[in-house]
């Protein structure tokens, strides 16, 4: 179990290093997904199977998929290759890498000189997490739902601006269709005669 932890940890580090050095955006995102899956294995060996499953489902399965959707839809990767080649030049990453190395040295030093012996790992299952979440941290659940609602409304509003800009660009868009869109919040795309490009 311990070797699995270290193996998954090294895998996650290597995958993240690849993810930050790729020029093609989709390659970087796929390496990041691999890193997230390795971290999920780490969570499992740390005795947290519930968040290991959640990490795979939500982080790697929803958030990263959303990223990949947007990158593929906007076709960012081909246009951005030249910019990425410039930003991966040594003179650009030397400073941040130096600071990160100092931080890494500090982390390794503090973990080597620590006097705590690792405690035996017990599995903290979903039942305990649920009891704590809906008992002690109930207000956090409410605030998280508020935050997600705000994110939903914000993304919907920003997306609606995109759709309206798309609509005004096309010649086939009549004034009546535009009025219909601006009046009806729910059916934002109804009654439009043109297709999205």
């Amino acid at each position: 179990m311990v070797t699995l932890f270290y193996l998954a940890g090294i895998l996650a580090i290597i995958a993240t290093l690849f993810a930050i050095t790729r020029r093609h955006a989709v390659h970087a995102l796929l390496y990041l997904i691999v890193s997230l899956l390795a971290i999920a294995i780490d969570f499992y060996t740390l005795g947290a199977p519930f968040v290991a499953a959640l990490e795979v489902m939500i982080y790697a399965g929803a958030i990263m998929v959303l990223f990949v959707f947007v990158v593929m839809m906007l076709n960012v990767a081909e246009h951005a290759m030249e910019v990425e080649r410039y930003s991966l030049h040594p003179k650009n990453w030397f400073g941040p890498a130096l600071l990160a190395l100092v931080l890494l040295a500090e982390l390794v030093y503090s973990s080597l000189t620590s006097i705590n012996t690792p405690a035996p790992v017990g599995v903290v299952g979903p039942k305990q997490v649920g009891t704590s979440l809906f008992g002690t941290f109930w207000i956090g659940v409410e605030l998280a739902s508020l935050l997600l609602m705000a994110g939903l409304i914000g993304a919907y509003h920003l997306g609606r601006q995109v759709m309206e800009k798309e609509g005004t660009k096309h010649a086939a868009d009549t004034t009546a269709a535009r009025l219909d869109i601006s009046r009806d919040l729910i059916h934002a795309g109804a009654g439009r005669t043109d297709h999205a490009a």
Binding site: L46, L66, P118, V129, L148, L158
Partner: protein, 63 residues
């Protein structure tokens, strides 16, 4: 970065055998999801404005 801080929380929670670390990670996950949704909506808007996404060209707030 969020994932790394979540790993630190899970490890801390596992060290004392409490579910608090996992609860914290759940909140981090929810926050990351909301942040990614809004951030990608911004990317969409910026892409409609200019056809290529160059962060160095986005040096002014309006126009």
């Amino acid at each position: 970065m969020l994932n790394a801080s979540g790993l630190a929380f899970i490890a801390a929670g596992s060290r004392w055998g409490q579910p608090d670390g996992q609860v914290m990670f759940l909140f981090i996950l929810a926050m990351a999801a909301a942040e990614v949704a809004i951030g990608l909506a911004f990317v969409f808007l910026y892409h409609r404005k200019q056809s290529e996404l160059d962060v160095d060209a986005a040096s002014e707030l309006r126009g």
